[in-house]
Symmetry: C2
């Protein structure tokens, strides 16, 4: 259906003129995503502040066959939040639906609306003596609704799980405008099909999550963060085993970084410096949260490193002596993706393989990539404890950026074929969006794709919800 | 469709004569469930040993409109595994599909078929130095497929989650006979809709789970189990907070028991005795698993009890001095349900409410039940750490059993109304089955029920999968 001026007026009437953006200058920020990889046009951005407004928008959209593209903090990396080039798709921004409806520290729960910025929830929880453990690079602008719709991962999955595991229940506006109240407050509830987990990770293709019940946790009583230099991913895997054995469920993060990534971070990021004197081929960041005390966290991390030194697993290591230093170690890791930019084009992957096979995967994928593109600079870093690597490839020094990036699909295919042979995932935490939609059909079985289509058709018969994404 | 002799022969031909039971004597054990609450008839039990056989059975069932009732260890408490009285429904037993396809201790994974008995998997994991943490009273006979289909809870949910959280991926035979291979080996995988979690907890109404990838964990290096006498559920709640504060993620179990339950267990169970000298109104069992050492577990549990004594939260307590004693403490708790039998009729509930509201719930529900049935003996015990109580009610001494049990629905309604007012669940871990099917419509919103029906219709258009259950 064409987005006629009359139809636009009907949508505008729902949220009011002030909250319906039509000026291209106002709309522009909604059309620029982090990697500037996905274009897209629209003539209308709707900014409802109430669930009832979202409901009225979707009802009208279904009646008129208007495509709706939900958008949170616009930090997604796979184009899931972007409209297509037709200009006929309407962006539904959840930013104004941003109340923390309640926080219950005794019950370890927070009821939050979709537009609440992740950092805002973290801070609100901390004020109540509680931890909301989801943490990722974009936490200052990404929103809970987007975190849920993409089942975001981040840096504390090892101990706390993905966003899915942090959510007990959801409130969803269905494409018809009906509101599903599946806000659950208990972790044990076996009453019928698990609707919540269908909407979590569906990237806005089945409905619009408007609120959720999120789990909170006691604040750790102590933190310990260590930064170690190692010879190889094999040693990093052994170190992981050792860390798990000592820290058990207190191991919150275990991040792997290659030398080249550290060099990029240091060279291109203000305030990032290498805490170790010598060069090492690989680095690991270990993050421990103790439920007991600061001393306990310290002792645990020292015990891990002592045994690692004795076993010859680490070449050098240092433990953060202050919160500022802990943050500086993490800054090194978090700067790594952006620090690739000044080095030219980067072909990205967000893969996972069984944790124990990470070293094998790196060796096989590196060889395959260098066979395709000699001189490619492989920056494979990430959440090793979860088997999840951002296996990114910076262009060879002096290569032509466009020519290099033109090989994106070809390189992806080669790397993802290896991932598939390891029974891994071609999208560990970023989702499918537009970026990997075509590839999904090569990864999923026809039976799985068919079931997904049946769900999509039965939930959204008019096909208005984020068309062109996922399925 | 009528189960004609010709049709029976076609089903028999799939699994072979030996594995198709038609003699009523052979069939009888499949028709007697633990509470003997649900009757049901059938003239055919099929016992396939291969996924291909399950596939052929469901394909034929869809073609002929034959109802299929999947059955695992036949330990379910809500009649989900029972056929109806028509004699036209075929039982599909998964017992012979019982291979452990592989165990990967390094990767902390086990690939198991549906018919593997829970205890068998626990033991196989332990042989490899790993823990499979799912644990429940019926673990010697219940099967993984049933655990998944009912999203079983049990005694270690506090630390490890429900069966859903222990499962990474599933293999499912769809009603059409198609096989969905959604066996995933990684915990981070954001590629499309979460199909796995639709089948988990669906109680066999959407397809038949034939195999699954289950998570394993390092074996704890030390255990600590304490048994404490307390004055009230309020004190138990404070003790829980204290235990969580000291033990953090090492707190594996926190079970509440009332005096009357302890008396029943002691009176009616061989080998169960009260470890404490004096009488107490309430009891708590605390289970700690340390990833560090036996001493650490011991120290943690001592620290909890010391602080609890100082705060006046516990009246008396004892710590198990041996594995045998740990088991004996647990035996007290696990015997509690069966120990109600010699006391006459019992009206059961399997509810959850937000943990912090357990004391309030007990007070309100007790008053309501005693108002309905003066003299009723309330045995409210269970997984307090998860907010999950088996809120059971034994008949008044000397009352007529049938007359008491005739009030089952009335009492349920009163208790469940309170549960709903607390935003809790009327089936925390046992599922809906036949028992709570009617009540589901009073608990779920019409929108949720409609979505469930849409899923059911789109996955099982012929309506052959476990009809009369859940939805």
């Amino acid at each position: 259906m064409t987005l006629t001026p009359e139809l636009v007026e009907r949508f505008v009437a729902i949220v009011g003129d002030r909250h319906a953006l039509r000026d291209p200058n106002d709309i522009e920020p909604y059309l620029i995503e982090p990697r500037e990889k996905f274009g897209g046009r629209t003539s209308l951005v709707l900014r409802p502040a109430e669930v009832e407004e979202v409901s009225a928008i979707l009802k009208l959209a279904t009646q008129t066959g208007t495509a709706i593209v939900p958008q949170g903090g616009n930090t997604g990396l796979v184009g899931g939040q972007m409209p297509d080039e037709s200009g006929q798709q309407v962006i539904l921004s959840l930013s104004r639906l941003n109340r923390i409806r309640s926080i219950d520290p005794a019950g370890n729960l927070a009821i939050v609306e979709a537009g609440v910025v992740l950092k805002t929830l973290q801070e609100a929880a901390e004020k109540e003596g509680r931890l909301f453990p989801l943490s990722l690079g974009s936490e200052g602008s990404c929103q809970i609704g987007g975190n849920l719709s993409s089942n975001a991962g981040g840096t504390a999955v090892l101990a706390y799980g993905n966003t899915r595991e942090l959510c007990l229940g959801v409130e969803v506006v269905l494409p018809t405008g009906e509101v599903l109240n599946d806000l659950r407050y208990v972790k044990k509830d076996n009453t019928g099909y698990d609707l919540k987990d269908l909407f979590v990770g569906a990237e806005g293709t089945l409905g619009v999550i408007t609120a959720a019940v999120m789990k909170l946790f006691p604040l750790p009583k102590g933190k310990g963060v260590a930064y170690a230099g190692l010879a190889s991913p094999e040693d990093a895997l052994k170190l992981l085993g050792l860390a798990q054995s000592h820290a058990g469920p207190s191991l919150t993060g275990f991040e792997l970084m290659p030398r080249i990534g550290v060099e990029f971070s240091v060279a291109h990021t203000d305030g990032v410096r290498d805490p170790l004197q010598e060069r090492h081929n690989w680095y690991v960041l270990i993050d421990i949260s103790s439920s007991r005390s600061a001393e306990d966290a310290r002792e645990t991390i020292e015990a891990i490193l002592t045994e690692a030194f004795e076993a010859g697993l680490v070449e050098d290591a240092t433990i953060a002596e202050s919160t500022a230093q802990e943050q500086s170690f993490w800054h090194m890791r978090e700067a790594m993706s952006h620090a690739q930019r000044p080095e030219g084009g980067s072909i990205k992957h967000d893969i996972s393989v069984p944790v124990a096979r990470i070293p094998e995967f790196i060796a096989e994928a590196d060889a395959a990539v260098l066979d395709l593109i000699p001189g490619a600079r492989i920056v494979s870093f990430g959440h090793m404890g979860d088997g999840n690597l951002h296996y990114n490839i910076s262009q060879p020094v002096g290569a032509d950026k466009e020519a290099f990036l033109a090989r994106w699909v070809e390189v992806n295919k080669r790397v993802h074929d290896i991932v598939r042979s390891y029974k891994g995932s071609i999208s560990a935490e970023h989702g499918i969006g537009q970026l990997k939609r075509k590839e999904l059909s090569e990864t999923k079985s026809p039976v799985a794709l068919d079931l997904m289509r049946r769900i999509k058709t039965s939930f959204d018969p008019a096909g208005i919800m984020n068309p062109g994404k996922v399925i």
